[in-house]
Assembly symmetry: C2
Homo-oligomer: 321 residues x 2
Amino acid sequence: MHSFEVLAGDFVKRFNRAHFPSSLPSLYDPAEYFLSIGGKRVRPVMCLMGNELFGDIGNEAWHVAEAIELFHNFTLIHDDIMDNAPLRRGKPTVHTKYNMPTALLSGDVMLISAYDSLNALSEKHLHTVVALFNKTAREVCEGQQLDMNFEKLVTVPMEDYIHMITLKTSVLLAGSLQMGAILNDASEEDQKHLYEFGKNLGIAFQVQDDYLDAFGDPGKFGKQPGGDILANKKTFLLIQALATANTSQKQALEQLLNNNDPKKVEKVLQLFRDTRVDEWAKSLKNRFFDLSLEHLDRITVDNNRKEPLLSLAQFLIQREY
Amino acid sequence: MHSFEVLAGDFVKRFNRAHFPSSLPSLYDPAEYFLSIGGKRVRPVMCLMGNELFGDIGNEAWHVAEAIELFHNFTLIHDDIMDNAPLRRGKPTVHTKYNMPTALLSGDVMLISAYDSLNALSEKHLHTVVALFNKTAREVCEGQQLDMNFEKLVTVPMEDYIHMITLKTSVLLAGSLQMGAILNDASEEDQKHLYEFGKNLGIAFQVQDDYLDAFGDPGKFGKQPGGDILANKKTFLLIQALATANTSQKQALEQLLNNNDPKKVEKVLQLFRDTRVDEWAKSLKNRFFDLSLEHLDRITVDNNRKEPLLSLAQFLIQREY
C-alpha cells in the first residue's frame, strides 16, 4: 500500500512531460503551460488508490489517472474563461496569459488528449471506464452550469446547492476512485461504496473550504479570510445564513451584499456568528465526513488496505476545529 | 448502394431526436438548438458511404456517423465563439442566442456525447476508430488555431494556407470516410486511398467556395458575392493575388485591404482578374479534384460500388465554370 505522498510523487514523475506535439506552439504551449503550473493531483491519486484498494496498481490505472488529470485541467481552463478569473494557483490563467480563443482551443485539445489516454486501456475495461468517465464529465459540466445559474439568483435552496457542489466537485473524486476500482475488478457493491465515500468526502471538503474562507486562521490557511464574502460568492455559509436569519439579520445581510461597506467582511462574519452558521457548518462537514467513512467501512477488503484512503480523507478534512 | 440523398435522409431520421437529458435546460437546450438548425450532414454520410464501399452498412457505422456529426457541431459552436460570429446557417449562433459561457459548455458536453456514441462500438474496431477520431479532432483544432494565427499576418505562403485548410476542413471529411472503411475491414491501402480522396476533395471544395464567394452567380450561389472581400478574409484568391501581383497591383490591393472604399468589392475583383487568379483558382480546384478521383480510382472494389461517392464528389465540385 502506498501513501498519498508516494503516489502523488510517482504520478508527477510520469505526468511531468510534454503532453502535446511541438509542431504548433501557439496552440500547445498554452496547454503545456497550464499543466506545468501544478496542482495537488488529488484526483489521479484517488484513481490509483481506488485501484490499489483491490490489488496491485496496474499499468492501466496510470493511464486512467492521466486521463482524469487532463480532464480536470481542461475543466479548469474553460471554467476560468467562463468565470473571468485572472489567476489560478497564483499564476495567470490561460486566457489572461494568452487570449480567450486560444484558451478555449487548448482546453478542447486537452479533453481530446484525455480520451487518448483512455484509449490505451485494453478491451476488458474500456467500455465500462469510458462510460463512467463520460457520465462524470457530463455531470461536471452540469455542475458548472448550475453554479453559473445560481450566481444570478438571490437565494438558492440548500438542497439544490448541495446538488450543484456534488456535480461540480464531488463526482470527479468519486468517479476517479471508482474507475480505479473497476480496473481491479472490484464488485459492484464495493464500487458503489467507494463512489459514495468519494462523493461525501468531496461535499465535506467543500463545506470546510467555505468555512475556512470565512473563519480560517490566516496563518494556517495561507490567505486573508473573506475572499468569498467580498466576491458575494454563494457558499454553504451564506446560503444557510440567508435561510435561517431573522428579518432584521436578513435585511442587514442583503444590504451588505448590495453595498461596498468597508467593514463588509467583519460585519458579514458577525452575522454568520449571530445566525450560528459557523457551528452549523462544522456539524454539516462532520456529517458528510462521517457518512463518507461509513461507506469506506463497508467496503469488503481488509482494513489495512483502506489505510491510505483513510489518511488522505483525514488529511483533507481536518477535524481540529 | 445508396445515394447521398437516401443516406442523408436516413441519417437525419435517426439523428433528429433529443441528444441530451431534459434535466438541465439551461445547458442542454442550447446544445439541442444548435443541432436542430440543420446542416447538410455531409460528414456522417461520408462515414456511411466509406462503410458501404466495402460491404453492407453496419450498425456501428451509424454510431460513428453520429459521433462525427456531434463532433462537427461542437467545433462549429466553439469556432463561432472564437470568430465572434453572429449567425450560422442564417440563425443566431449559440453564444449570441444564449451567452458565451453557456455556448462554451454546451460545446463541451457535445464533444463528450460524441465519445458516448463511439463507446457503442464493439471491441473489434473501437481502439482503431477512436485513435483516428482523436487524431482528426486534434488536427481540426490545429486548423482553427492556424486560421486565427493567419488572420493576424499580412501574407501567408500558399503552402501554409493549404496546410491550414487541410486541417480545418479536409481531414474530417477524409477521416469520416476512413472510419467507415475501417468498420468494414477495408485494407490499409484502400483506407489510405479513400482518406486521400476525401482530403483532396475537401481542398478542391474550399478553393471552389472561395472562388464562388468572389465570382459566383448570385442567382445560383444564393448570396451576393464579395463577402470574403469585405471581411478581408484570407482566401486562396487573395493569397495568390498578393503573391503574384506586380508592384502597383500589390500596392492597390493592400490599400484596398486597409480602407473602406465603397467600390472595394468591384476593385478587388478587377485586381483578381488582372492577376488572373480567377483562372488560377479554377485550375487549382481541378488539380485537387482530379487528384481525389485518382485516389478513388485506385481503391480495389468494383467501380459500381464507387458510384455514390463519385456522384457526391461531382455534386460538391461543380465543373461547370
